[in-house]
Amino acid sequence: MDDLRKRAKELLETSAVKVVIGYEDGSGGKTRTLFAEKPEDAARLIFDSRCVMNLAAYVTKREIKEKGRMAIAATLPVMRSIIQLASEFQVSNDNLLVLGITPESKLLEFTDLSEVEKFVHQYQIEIEARNKEMLEKLEKMTPAGRWKFWTDELSPCIKCYACRAACPMCYCSRCTVDFNQPQWIPVPSHQLGNLEWHFMRAVHLTGRCIDCNACFNACPLAIPLNLLTKKMIEDVKANFGGYQPTLTGEHLMSTYKPDDKENFIQ
């Protein structure tokens, strides 16, 4: 990814941006986030198949935003998150420059977010096959079977909130679980508290999640919590005709169509 490094170095030298957010080699063969602020830092930028962390989680972080204009090395999922964040007024053209990395690992710089939107709309959000199978397997179960599946799968959850921390869409300065008047979600990690937390997370991400798997990758217990948000994506496709992050379009769950179909309201 030499052209990414070259471009990042230029941007920092001309101080067109104050920080370039990208990937660098981490410990244990993993990659980690690099905040390149000095031109020579750009040399550490890398890109390969290990770079799956969603860097968009950092563009809403106070300590990073305060540095000034940011550039971000964005793969397709990161670009989708950026468009969704832009539509929720969290980032804009004047504080973010997108250095796109296409699915063919080519550098593609965008002058503004509407270009990024056009690029993102060329691809549909596709759930991976093995997760689709898992969803189908769960659908074939009885409700009691699914209840047992989820209470078992969620029982190791320790409420560390890494799933929330790694998700770019979870940028609220104070999350609903952090309010105690009323305490909607129980704080302790017992079966009820775990179930209601993951339920709430799936509801709050409906129509916003772009299926980047950051939550699953962050979970220290590999709980398949991303199945919940994937199910919501499939349902949105089935009920409302799919969803793509758009800069100007309506937000899926805060709008409606008079002819929304349903078969259960008496």
Partner: protein
């Protein structure tokens, strides 16, 4: 002090496991689940993930569970009746297959839970646990127990420490405490007298990565350094490092009511969360993530040794293995130790 050394044949280990089960012991052992290895209650020897270097979550849950009831209350016409924690319903637990850096962690937790005020609940749970430790024959780049005063064959905190003699060999069993002798008594037939054995030959190679004294001295003067910001820029502010750590004891107390009955819970908490220090007035003494990352390192490597003469870290490397942002505490410690303060 001469430790009571024995040999137990490799195929007798399973028999020891079964004897413990027959003596109505609840056995917690490393079991793999969803590609992660965690301590779970098991009664199937084959299920134990013996080959893992380290479990993904520490074994502190045995004595300091993620959620436990401190008291239950119920309201009625003539007032409130409150029933405290009942130690009666804690079963006898055997912690099987725990590594020395976890057993050392139990000592560090006990230092906090018995600092002046004796936490009866914690002590009660711990008194019911027999720790059967297994030395490490393998280590990875995240392990640094030797840098914080530990070693892969450390007996501290174990009741019996088993050390495998070679990949497919038998086990050296060092019986260390009363509880260890009790287990030994249950299965004397399987233990044979051990001759001269060089235990070090079978232990993992864990290089010392930093000098603890230099680190502690540097930390005294490192508080105001601007490096904390750079060190913690990647931190996402989740609770993984505190919850997987064998030596983190911070907790929250929460009440829950369901109709006229309810309970008061103790549950894990982390200094990485902003809610940990937020005042009702809105003032937050630690408002930025770098202050919280600084608190984590200062507490473990400066405040705890100063007040409790025990470090708050066993060098198990779990926080770095599990961190979603790959913060790697070892790198922070090494760069602080090398900083010319």
């Amino acid at each position: 002090m001469n430790i009571d050394k024995h040999i137990i044949r490799k195929d007798s280990l399973e028999k020891l496991f079964d004897i413990l089960r027959q003596n109505s012991k609840t056995i917690y052992a490393p079991v793999s689940r969803n590609s992660k290895v965690i301590f779970r209650k098991t009664d199937n020897f084959a299920e134990i993930a013996a080959g893992c270097i380290q479990t993904d979550i520490s074994s502190k849950e045995i004595a300091f569970p993620r959620t436990e009831r401190l008291l239950d209350y119920s309201r009625s016409a003539d007032g409130i009746s409150v029933k405290g924690f009942d130690s009666g319903d804690i079963p006898e637990i055997v912690l099987w297959g725990v590594r020395p850096c976890d057993t050392v962690g139990i000592g560090e937790l006990s230092a906090i839970f018995n600092w002046d005020y004796k936490d009866g609940i914690y002590n009660n749970r711990l008194s019911k646990v027999t720790v059967l430790g297994f030395s490490c024959s393998k280590a990875d780049e995240y392990c640094f127990c030797t840098s914080v005063g530990g070693n892969p064959g450390n007996t501290a905190g174990s009741d019996i420490l088993f050390t495998r003699l070679g990949d497919n060999g038998d086990f050296l069993a060092e019986v260390l405490t009363e509880k260890g002798i009790a287990v030994f008594a249950l299965a004397t037939g399987f233990f044979e007298k051990a001759g001269e054995i060089k235990k070090e030959e079978f232990l993992a190679e864990v290089p010392v990565r930093f000098n603890l004294e230099v680190l502690s001295n540097n930390l005294e003067k490192f508080f105001e350094s601007g490096q904390w910001v750079d060190l913690s820029l990647k931190c996402l502010g989740c609770g993984v490092c505190a919850y997987v750590c064998p030596a983190c004891a911070c907790f929250d107390i929460q009440d829950e009511a369901h109709g006229r009955k309810g309970s008061r819970f103790r549950c894990w908490d982390s200094c990485a969360f902003s809610l940990f220090t937020l005042h009702t007035s809105g003032h937050n003494p630690r408002d930025v993530q770098s202050q919280r990352w600084r608190q984590r390192i200062m507490h473990k490597f400066s405040y705890m040794p100063d007040r409790l003469s025990v470090y708050g870290c066993t060098g198990c490397g779990r926080c770095s293995r599990a961190c979603p942002a790959d913060m790697n505490i070892l790198e922070s410690l090494i760069s602080i130790q090398e900083a010319n303060v």
